[in-house]
Symmetry: C4
Subunit: 292 residues, 4 copies
């Protein structure tokens, strides 16, 4: 009778073990199915819908990764183009990914560069050829904290013709009345390589930029700067949007552009609303499945 009493218990234990094993096994497999969505969101969630938390280089790098994903997801860049942020700890330095498609950039890709745009500690990572765009603009413009270099298809036609890119919609109130163009031939001659591949060319680009938030690069793209990562991303996006709209408007007739006062006034108001755009762009980039 003792054994009979014991037996059922043992059998129940074995069954319990088997059932738990089944549950854990299924649970693990089902988690695999749902995982991509849930882990993808975590990178930007902390900033969503709240004021940016206290500034630090760690936070800047975190935003830089999110910004890379956003400019790729919004079509501002494709496999090429790059963005950087100035170091808070050492303002002569800046952070920029290793040579990689922006959509795929992760925290481990971010490298620190010195005031001559050389890597502080490359650890085998290859830097972008055109990192001098960033280093020389940071040198010339102490007000700039972040830079986006893009090849936006809508923007290139304005750099290649003598039709000025001007603010035609309020979201691009940051644009000057005539956006400056960097003609690399003026500094490197006809036998140039288009790319800003050394300090001298970077300095010439920074000079063409002047005090503007945007400089067009003939046959190439644009460099867009801002006092924060979010504002630089916002400007890169709406530079593209304004170019599309201006291009269409010019085909219809002679458009009325924003005058300098309108542009300045609306830019001031919208600067306070940059987070609204960032929030939805970050959400969309996380859901698009084109980055990790």
């Amino acid at each position: 009778m003792f054994k009979k009493h014991f037996c059922p218990g043992r059998r129940v234990l074995v069954l319990l073990a088997l059932s738990l094993f089944t549950c854990v096994f299924i649970s693990a497999m089902v988690r695999q199915v749902t995982a991509p969505a849930s882990t993808g969101t975590s990178a930007v969630a902390p900033q969503s819908g709240s004021l940016p938390s206290a500034d630090s280089d760690e936070k800047r790098i975190q935003e830089l990764v999110a910004g890379n994903h956003i400019i790729a997801d919004q079509g501002v860049v494709d496999g090429f183009g790059h963005m950087s942020v100035r170091s808070l700890k050492n303002p002569a330095h800046f952070f920029l990914s290793q040579s990689k498609a922006p959509a795929l950039v992760t925290k481990d890709d971010i490298m620190e560069f010195d005031e001559n745009s050389e890597p502080v500690d490359a650890r085998g990572r290859t830097p972008y050829v055109e990192r001098y765009i960033h280093g020389e603009i940071y040198r010339a413009r102490p007000d700039v904290q972040a830079i986006v270099h893009s090849h936006s298809p809508a923007v290139i036609p304005f750099g290649a013709t003598n039709v000025p890119l001007r603010p035609i919609m309020h979201m691009a109130g940051f644009l000057p009345q005539t956006t400056p163009i960097f003609e690399i031939r003026s500094v490197a001659g006809d036998d140039n390589g288009i790319l800003v591949e050394n300090r001298r060319l970077g300095a010439a680009l920074a000079q063409a930029l002047g005090k503007s938030p945007v400089v067009l690069m003939r046959g190439h793209g644009a460099a867009v700067v801002g006092p924060t990562i979010r504002i630089a991303v916002f400007r890169a996006f709406y530079t593209q949007s304004n170019a599309q709209i201006e291009s269409e408007a010019l085909k219809l007739g002679q458009p009325v552009f924003l005058n300098p006062m309108e542009a300045a006034n609306v830019e001031k108001t919208l600067r306070g609303l940059v987070n609204r755009a960032w929030e939805i762009w970050a959400e969309h980039a996380n859901g698009s499945g084109t980055k990790r």
Copy 2:
């Protein structure tokens, strides 16, 4: 023998419990996988394919949330732009989200505004700067129950040039022969802020709108109104679509537009078919993964 008879029963009960536990556990996890689709649909499912149920402020708010997701998903708005609905209970009041990207708006974001476009009970939520667009149009136009304010890229060129936006396709039969344009300089002078940021500017916009369903806003976007949320969304979408088509047609040659009789006749017919568009847009917005 009693115990032996009892024992198997107890074991079966234990096994039954374990099996049920397993089933419930798996069921819960699998539901997690299917949840985004099924719960996402619930917001609009009740209206799909049937007459709208009895009107109420609660139902209007529900549709307002769905409408926000639709105009974002269809590219009528990006992170900016907003839509509102008049209150049924208090027709001098209206409902509008707090300052937020339309794709992310939820029921909890919807605020009630009074006849002066001020929040009835803000509870810490920040209203849109341009809520006066809504309040002043509701004041001037008792027939209007819903308003969409957008920055549709295809529409802005028509507001910036002297080329009139006219109905070129039947879906936009609601458009007048010449869509009015609001030039903010005419009321706020050259040193204006583009945005409709107070009651005076809202009233001037409402005056420019007149009896039209659409008013273009120079350098900015448009305001589109309707007797229901669904009709306002429909009009906002097809205003954009008509602008794209007219823009292409004007590049080809001199197009034939809908005459006033054609426009009025087809508009009357299509008004009865607005739900067909709403249904597919709501379905698509729920599946797009860009809003919660």
Copy 3:
């Protein structure tokens, strides 16, 4: 001993039943997860990569549903527009969905219409206002087995201007040297309703179509016909594609179009390759999540 021998057996039976129940239960739930993809595919899978199986009205209806999803997924139609197939059993009749967005059409929405475009058995379903497009073309064109009515944005400008839509790329070799235009004013006068809402207008449209595979409808869209559903869908897609390309080419300069021999020759070859397009479009439509 008998009972003891029996008991374990009974218990095993109970356990077997529970296990089977668990398996079936889990299987059903997991099928729910995979269902959208797997059942979605079944509608077109039988035809993929092989010759169409023996023709029947049941098979035509199955393809009609798939075709509705394809034209929506490829942007040939939005919430509006519709497609039909002639009945094999009763060639004076045709099949067409009830009034519904094409992306959402299911087998249960397909209605049979008689030679006067009236429903054979409506069962409470509302037909499309413009079903006369289909009925009158089937009457006038015995060679036509399927019809797509669309509002393709790229096509409308050609219907609204006097710039002829002509074959500029080989995929649209089916297009005539000048695609005919239906101007509804010529039959219904200036006070018309744009829509083809009765038999008389349908007959006039069929007359404008003549022997062409495509007729443009001024201020409205197009009707595209074919000897099979797949060919009609193929033509609707490449009519749109050709319009986009021709529109761009005309902005650059005076393009060389396909001459009548080139068009006829390549059309003959491509007709044998229609399934290649259908296969990838069906695959894409099934994965797009915008229809059930």
Copy 4:
């Protein structure tokens, strides 16, 4: 007692068997759910972020499959168009899919063709009508290892007008100052079939290509060649991108194009960065759900 001792054990065995069966069954079904994503990635994962491994025909075929998915996903081809790679083992031969939409191509679709573009071992598979494009270019151009034949909508207008396709952006530095056009009428007369459906037409196309990396095909599309699969795909993509940008720039005014030195210099630099584009395109194609 022996039997009593044995019975529970037998029951446990039965339960164990049932539980294992349950686990295996569930596991199999859940794998079905996750399979499309996980197996899709494996094709390109080995190359991501590293130097291409040692060349072999097996590796070329693997890349050819990935390349097919990329050109479909990036809109360079739709259901039509095709790409090939030269055989390493037998350089007179080449690999090309059977007649199929590029997005759906798998390893089993890849056929080997001889120097006359005839299948070595068809095994019932139907080859593309235009395989002679590939065979004759490989014969005429020993430097070419891979070829993309596309119908890119943005490219066709340049083949149909006398407006030359020229490099306007640095990514397309590989383009010649004037991209050659193949006018099939010049070799097959006015009564031609547009398609390159035999060796004679293939040879004429190869002659039109000359030493260029791209030849436009009037009323049809383009053929793009490269020294590797990745470079051919890169060029096919940026030929399309350059066409879009040039088209927009020409509407604005007279653009400045890259001069021959700029084009050559930047092409040399970018050739080393082709993997950066490939990596993100492969990632995106795997996530797009339009191929297996």
